[in-house]
Amino acid sequence: MASASTKYNSHSLEIESIKRTSRDGLNRDLSETVPRLPGETLITDKEVIYICPFNGPIKGRVYITNYRLYLRSLETDSALILDVPLGVISRIEKMGGATSRGENSYGLDITCKDMRNLRFALKQEGHSRRDMFETLTRYAFPLAHNLPLFAFLNEEKFNVDGWTVYNPVEEYQRQGLPNHNWRITFINKCYELCDTYPALLMVPYRTSDEDLKRVAAFRSRSRIPVLSWIHPENKTAIVRCSQPLVGMSGKRNKDDEKYLDAIRETNKQNSKLTIYDARPSVNAVANKATGGGYESDDAYHNAELSFLDIHNIHVMRESLKKVKDIVYPNVEESHWLSSLESTHWLEHIKLVLTGAIQVADKVSSGKSSVLVHCSDGWDRTAQLTSLAMLMLDSFYRSIEGFEILVQKEWISFGHKFASFPTAFEFNERFLITILDHLYSCRFGTFLFNCESARERQNVPERTVSLWSMINSNKEKFKNPFYTKEINRVLYPVASMRHLELWVNYYIRWNPRIKQQQPNPVEQRYMELLALRDDYIKRLEELQLANSAKLSDPPTSPSQMMPHVQTHF
């Protein structure tokens, strides 16, 4: 289909095109361009048949570099282009064997993490499939082949350094920390207390580092309760951690109990600390068998525990798998709604949202500080704390604020705030770009699991930050309707009636599904903005002209400029 390339590109990864040089001698057509990043090198190219699930087989040439798989159609009536960073590939499989008959039954099947599969048919003669399979496997999974990740080879230069966006000390200062209730501790400076925590931690003022060490012994993977966010007025805090190591015998730890009480007391007006255990209660109970558990009423008199019923990452992944089944390649038509329901994906979103609203409401109403944990405290906990912070703190709704939030809390969420179209400085493209580069391996931002690993690998020195690319192109990621409202708390409605699948992300490869780009409301608004600026300029000129000479009435200005073509 002729439109395929434009559609795919409008939603695909940022590309800096570089003209192919004639030196590589592989391409006969010098006017053609294949996008290439500095540091990207071509490994091989092959003629293949791309089995497009929407338009049938298309003959094309595929180029494999150390960063991407790029396909250009060789058919005159199709301008199809595929541009897939190798990082998004999760599986490569051979289909058909030497004896396979039938058209296009011999080739490769590639599964991607961005909700699509790619299928290429190759000639049975020669070793074209083996070559392509081996090259792809090596470069899509470089670590298993002793090759560096592309992010370490990327030589892109941007005029902004994204690595400086997040500075923990500055971010704490913005929140008015440290104060007389909270202090910074350097106990984890070399990641010796907890290797999956950052070096700087914010803890209650009156708890000593020695106490912290004893608390760490009672928390799974030593992930002790630390502050994520503090309310600027009522001083209630959001604190995150992992589950307590209660076990079958119902162990207690005086230091942990004392520590939670210290957290509660950082905010004077309340008698109880609220603990949100993100898990379903059955799972929390079951965790006791493996040494984990939750804070019991007996041990923690001054705390109130509730479960948020959010399922673990395995359940969520299974659910996402089902989403892929119903959107790729074909979208279910008349049973769309029940299929969508059976994936449970929106139910998970609803529960996460509901939990985050509860956290935000507790803190915003000043009722009490909140402690959030799940089992280890890195998936569900991060989802909850970052969403709650997005609701509470308008700073995180700006482009830089959101980058800081991502950098700080790790999140994986989408469009759930689409119902507040004026509250965010960034647009949908910003979110999609972040998700795309979560897998692309082009930037160092999402490499490795924690700060200590990133530090060992010298990631900031050796790779480019995604925020460098975004912040040097900020206009592209801005929402023109953004209205800054400093103290506004956003409460989305966690009802299925308002939740929709994020079509522009999950179903973006299907040419039949509408991709409203650009958004007509936005486009009209931009036109009006331009018109307004033009009018203001004209008015100023008229005023100047008028004050310069008071005689000579000017010619009718209405004849000079176009009128807004709309009813008022």
Partner: protein, 719 residues
């Protein structure tokens, strides 16, 4: 439990506003109306009255609404008014049990719940009301909303008689009413249909047929005696002509007969008719029989009655209990699927007309239900004029009002037969809403316009939706009556929006995204149209079309004209049909949209949506404070006002030093704080407490063992 404010018990006397001709029938005092507020209920004392026009609740509590937001007030029906025709179902609560109320009651309920056709739900507590008054008001309301009525007893007539002198129609209303020969000639000329079709006045005074309008359009060679033969049945009636000359026609079926000789007569009559319209200059005709292989009215009725229940929600618990199963409940109602089928059928018809240059003949028993729906839907998609406000209103006049859609029966205004009540017109509005929602810049009107139009179906001061046919209207208005002494009544039309809304409120009916078509000179326009046609009729990819089809496609026009029906049958084999459809559909969607050209809807699963404004607007739980599309629209309107005021300043050569900040008052000031339900259901929310679901997670089924697994680093993208 509900909380009442003691001082409110002293009821302030609030005056009942009566329309001309409206009469108070019964009333009850110390009635408690439940108000949902911040997810708890509160009671407001007041007077419940029933007139021959409406049920109204009078209290002095609405003063809180007296701010900028209430500018979208309806001048005819207030927030606490329910017209008698708008009542859908009445329930009584007896010892905590909810029962539907009908006819004579033996026992009177302590609470009255009224479900409205516009999906509002009212709760009135009668516990503190005198027993006598309870009896009077409950039986009064039941009687006046449920008992079968005579047409002549409609409030419409009392109103028209009483308001005789004050009715002034809006001079700016350019809607074509299609009640004169001139209107039809104008439409023929506008669509260039006058080459092959003519407007006729054979039915003036309804001499031939009471189901047809006084004036209509038929193929030029059609004889007057053909029209007479079966009282207007079995003749092709023109609806609309496409720019390429093909036309949309409709025909009501001939009466079903057992007698062989009559059947023979019918057959030869139809053969004659088909012969007339099958030969050049007429295009190949394709008949779309809507009574046999399309939706049935029964299906529409069943689907809607399931669907509307999803929105008639009594309380918060009910809302959250249904939330988890929301998508499957929605699907099992089939309403969205019915919308999809209508849109799909309309696209198919569009493809025949636009790409294959065929005439379409819609066939239905009375040609007044699905015929109206499809022909007007096709016109909205193909004719940009129908996407302007006056164009759309003229379309509704032409296809629905003059087309003889039985509004009286389909809305069950007279409560004579529940079986006949089918929301065909609402289905049409919902289909149009899908288009409005998918292509916002293509329409001059907004979704709010469609919503208030759907509400107007139940306001019996407008004649538009209160008759089964133009004949019925004219005979009952006294226009055709022999009694020369009585002056014909002057009834209001719904298109006079100033009757319901102040000018400021009417701005919400106009779409700020709509830009009128730029005027081009004639030569240019021709060129563009030619290009457009070419794009649509070319096969998309040469490689995948089979040689056989390629052969037909290239030569279609030529061959069809020569070989006639045989070939057309061949082409229309069902596979081919699907292919043509897909190709047409995909091809259109792959190109940038020309908002002043052909407009097709998306019909994939995720694209057909619930018309949230109409269906969710009264449900407090569904409200997003400071959210929804109103937020961006508000900012857009603010910017437009600013631009306009700057423009005016320049135009007035207002050159004295002024600040450049626009100070024009705006309807949507501070739009970022408005609720997503704006401009409806302006619920008072005093605190900013979030709404929280009250029901939890349901069983996961086979994912149970996954749920027990431990957390670990997992790549969520690896699916």
């Amino acid at each position: 439990e509900i909380h009442t404010n003691e001082k409110e018990v002293t009821e302030k006397e609030v005056t009942l506003h009566l329309l001309p001709g409206e009469q108070l029938l019964c009333e009850a005092s110390t009635v408690l109306k439940y108000v949902q507020e911040d997810s708890c209920q509160r009671g407001v004392y007041g007077r419940l009255v029933c007139t021959d026009f409406k049920i109204a609740f009078l209290s002095d509590d609405d003063c809180a609404l007296d701010n900028g937001e209430s500018q979208f007030k309806n001048k005819v029906i207030g927030e606490n008014d329910i017209t008698l025709h708008c009542v859908d179902q009445i329930y009584g609560v007896f010892d905590e049990k909810k029962k539907a109320l009908f006819g004579q009651l033996k026992k009177y309920p302590e609470k009255l719940i009224i479900h409205c056709k516009d999906l509002r739900v009212f709760h009135f507590c009668l516990r503190y009301t005198k027993e006598e008054e309870v009896k009077r008001i409950v039986s009064g309301i039941i009687h006046h909303t449920q008992a079968p009525k005579l047409l002549k007893r409609l409030f419409l007539f009392s109103y028209a008689t009483a308001a005789q002198n004050s009715t002034a129609t809006d001079p700016k209303n350019h809607t074509v009413m299609f009640d004169t020969l001139k209107d039809w000639c104008w439409e023929l000329e506008r669509t260039k249909g006058n080459v092959k079709y003519k407007a006729v006045s054979v039915n003036e005074g309804y001499r031939i047929c009471e189901r047809l309008p006084a004036f209509f359009v038929v193929p030029t060679p059609l004889l007057e005696e053909d029209v007479l033969r079966f009282q207007g049945h079995g003749i092709p009636i023109w609806c609309w002509s496409c720019h390429n000359g093909s036309a949309l026609l409709k025909m009501s079926a001939l009466p079903k007969e057992q007698d062989d000789s009559i059947l023979q007569m019918q057959k030869s009559f139809l053969d004659g008719i088909y012969k007339t319209i099958h030969r050049p200059p007429y295009e190949i005709v394709r008949t779309e029989d809507l009574s046999s292989n399309f939706l049935s009215l029964q299906e529409i009725q069943t689907a809607y009655s399931k669907f509307k229940q999803l929105f008639l929600i009594d309380n918060s618990t009910e809302f959250w209990d249904t939330d988890i199963k929301w998508f499957s409940l929605l699907e099992s109602s089939s309403w969205l699927d019915i919308i999809r089928r209508c849109l799909k059928r309309a696209i198919e018809i569009t493809e025949y007309m636009e790409a294959q240059n065929m005439n379409i003949l819609l066939l239905e028993e009375n040609a007044s239900d699905l015929c109206c729906l499809l022909s007007s839907l096709v016109q909205v998609m193909m004719d940009p004029h129908c996407r302007t406000r006056t164009g759309f209103q003229s379309l509704v006049q032409k296809e629905w009002v003059m087309g003889g859609h039985c509004f009286l029966d389909r809305c069950n205004h007279l409560r004579q037969s529940d079986r006949e009540e089918v929301p065909v017109f609402l289905l049409f509005l919902d289909c149009v809403w899908q288009l409005v929602h998918q292509h916002p810049p293509a329409f001059e009107f907004t979704e709010t316009y469609l919503t208030v139009l759907s509400d107007s179906l139940y306001i019996p001061i407008f004649s538009t939706f209160f008759f089964n046919s133009p004949h019925q209207k004219d005979t009952n208005m006294g226009r055709e009556s022999l009694d020369t002494q009585s002056k014909p009544l002057n009834l209001l039309t719904v298109w006079d929006w100033s009757v319901q809304f102040e000018p400021k409120a009417q701005t919400l009916l106009r779409n700020p995204l709509y830009v009128e078509k730029p005027k081009l000179d004639k030569g240019q326009r021709k060129g563009m149209r030619f290009k457009h046609q070419r794009q649509l009729s070319l096969p998309l990819t040469q490689s995948k079309s089979s040689p056989k089809r390629g052969f037909f496609r290239e030569e279609t026009d030529h061959l069809i004209k020569n070989l006639g029906k045989r070939i057309s049958k061949l082409i229309n084999s069902s596979d081919e049909l699907q292919d043509n459809f897909r190709e047409f559909y995909d091809s259109w969607h792959s190109k940038p949209t020309d908002y002043h050209g052909l407009l097709l809807p998306h019909i994939e699963g995720p694209e057909i949506k619930v018309w949230a404004q109409r269906y969710l607007r009264w449900i407090p739980e569904a409200q997003i404070v400071g959210g929804g599309r109103v937020a961006t629209m508000g900012k857009l309107l603010e910017m437009m006002e600013e631009v306009q005021s700057l423009q005016e300043k320049i135009d007035e050569r207002h050159l004295s030093p002024v600040s450049l900040q626009a100070e024009a008052p705006c309807l949507l000031r501070n739009s970022v704080r408005l609720s997503s339900l704006f401009p409806f259901a302006l619920l008072q929310r005093h605190s900013s407490k979030p709404v929280l679901p009250t029901s939890g997670w349901k069983a996961l089924g086979d994912d149970e063992d996954l749920a027990k697994r431990e957390d670990e680093f997992v790549d969520l993208g690896d699916v």
